[in-house]
């Protein structure tokens, strides 16, 4: 989980401690480029392929985590 949080912090260009399940993505830079980077991050950390379109629907970090656990 830590590796994923660190990667996500880098993608959103925020401090690692900012990343918490309740963090609202739309308040950060959650754009098409961040989504592509996140697809790659999840593949790298969990070996799972989550589509960009399902990531687009995520409102919080917890939503992304739910997608990952559902795919595993």
């Amino acid at each position: 989980m830590q590796e994923f949080y660190e990667g996500l912090a880098e993608i959103l260009e925020v401090a690692p401690e900012t990343i918490k399940p309740e963090l609202t993505l739309e308040e950060e830079q959650w754009d098409s480029m961040a989504i592509i980077s996140c697809v790659a991050l999840i593949d790298e950390v969990y070996g799972q392929l989550i589509s960009g379109s399902s990531l687009t629907g995520c409102k919080t970090v917890a939503d992304i985590q739910n997608l990952i656990s559902k795919s595993m």
Partner: protein, 339 residues
């Protein structure tokens, strides 16, 4: 996925021509702010690209590359048995650009010439066709692959406006009875046809089209997902077919889609440092010309020195993909120049 192997095929030389006009990232400051340009460049890796002048076509670039290659190899024009032109940006709707180039190059009337409408995977498909023609009895095949994607971009679409560059290439294939087997794997997923598209220009939309229909549309995250789910298994599978491992391959010449994708594939397959060259910084994504452009720049020394093992892979618009493995590769010549 179609898996094949072909005997007796060698690559003798590659030549690439890029337009003289160059655009660096600063040139986009009139459309995008510095932060957007930096963010896009971080993902794509592109710093500068060569852009065709209006009226300068993929056919023109390939013609220059072919003329140079025939001279370098001292191939008489009438010794070419087939000309294959691969592009998503042909010179005209008709005739086939291959026929126009056949005339310009002064090839024999016994030479067959035809177009293939593919982009990112096109060079590998062209290579497969050249190999298949040679295995069917031809001796010399010229593969011309090039695109002027810059001419179909929406200047305000940050996802594509700064990604592409233009280039044309020529590759000479020749029969050699001693050449080892060349392996191919090719595939298509037409359900993704609309993920990378220019709607106008064919006969679905007749009459004058809107500016929007005349420009390239790309669903970046879907194409990215397709690439990372398709390319690593493709590479693993063709290596298995060729009975090779990752460390047996000297050069992985992959379509220069985007630097982030290439580094992701490199990491995922644990490809040794230096074996997967990247030149997208200087040229952008040049569609069907990206693999030969890589062969003429970053790997030129390696493929003209002692015999080497080369894996090439292309993937993208279609959706379409392909990979080829050549062993004992030793080219007589490579060149890259501006026109």
């Amino acid at each position: 996925m179609s898996k094949n192997s072909v005997k007796g095929v060698t690559i003798q030389g590659v030549s690439c021509a890029v337009p003289r006009k160059q655009l660096d990232n600063q040139s986009f400051l009139d459309r995008f702010d510095e932060k957007t340009i930096a963010d896009v460049a971080k993902l794509t890796g592109v710093l500068t690209r060569h852009i065709a002048e209006p009226g300068q076509t993929a056919g023109d670039l390939c013609f220059a590359a072919a003329e140079r290659l025939l001279a370098d190899l001292q191939w008489a024009p009438d010794s070419v048995d087939a000309l294959i032109f691969v592009s998503q940006t042909p010179d005209q709707r008709m005739p086939a650009t291959a026929c126009i180039l056949h005339g310009r190059l002064g090839l024999s009337t016994e030479c067959q010439a035809f177009d293939v409408g593919l982009g990112c995977s096109g060079y590998v498909y062209g290579t497969w066709l050249a190999a298949a023609l040679i295995s069917a009895g031809l001796r010399r095949v010229l593969l011309l692959a090039g695109d002027t994607s810059s001419q179909m971009l929406d200047p305000d679409d940050r996802g594509t406006a700064m990604l592409f560059g233009d280039a044309g290439s020529a590759t000479a294939f020749e029969y050699n009875e001693h050449a080892p087997l060349t392996y191919f794997e090719l595939g298509t997923d037409g359900t993704g046809a609309q993920l990378l598209t220019v709607p106008a220009g064919g006969y679905r939309l007749c009459g004058p089209a809107s500016a929007r229909d005349n420009t390239l549309h790309m669903d970046g995250s879907a194409v990215f997902g397709f690439t990372i789910s398709t390319v690593p298994p493709l590479i693993k599978s063709i290596l298995q077919q060729a009975n090779l491992t990752i460390s047996d391959v000297d050069t992985f010449a992959l379509h220069q889609a985007n630097k982030f994708i290439l580094q992701h594939i490199e990491k995922k397959l644990k490809i040794p440092a230096g074996a997967l060259p990247i030149n997208i910084e200087q040229f952008g994504n040049t569609s069907s010309a990206s693999v030969p452009l890589l062969l003429c720049t970053n790997t030129a020394e390696r493929i003209t020195g002692s015999p080497t093992t080369l894996l090439m892979a292309g993937f993208g618009v279609g959706l379409s993909w392909g990979a080829a493995v050549f062993s004992d590769v030793r080219l007589q010549s490579t060149s890259v120049f501006e026109v």
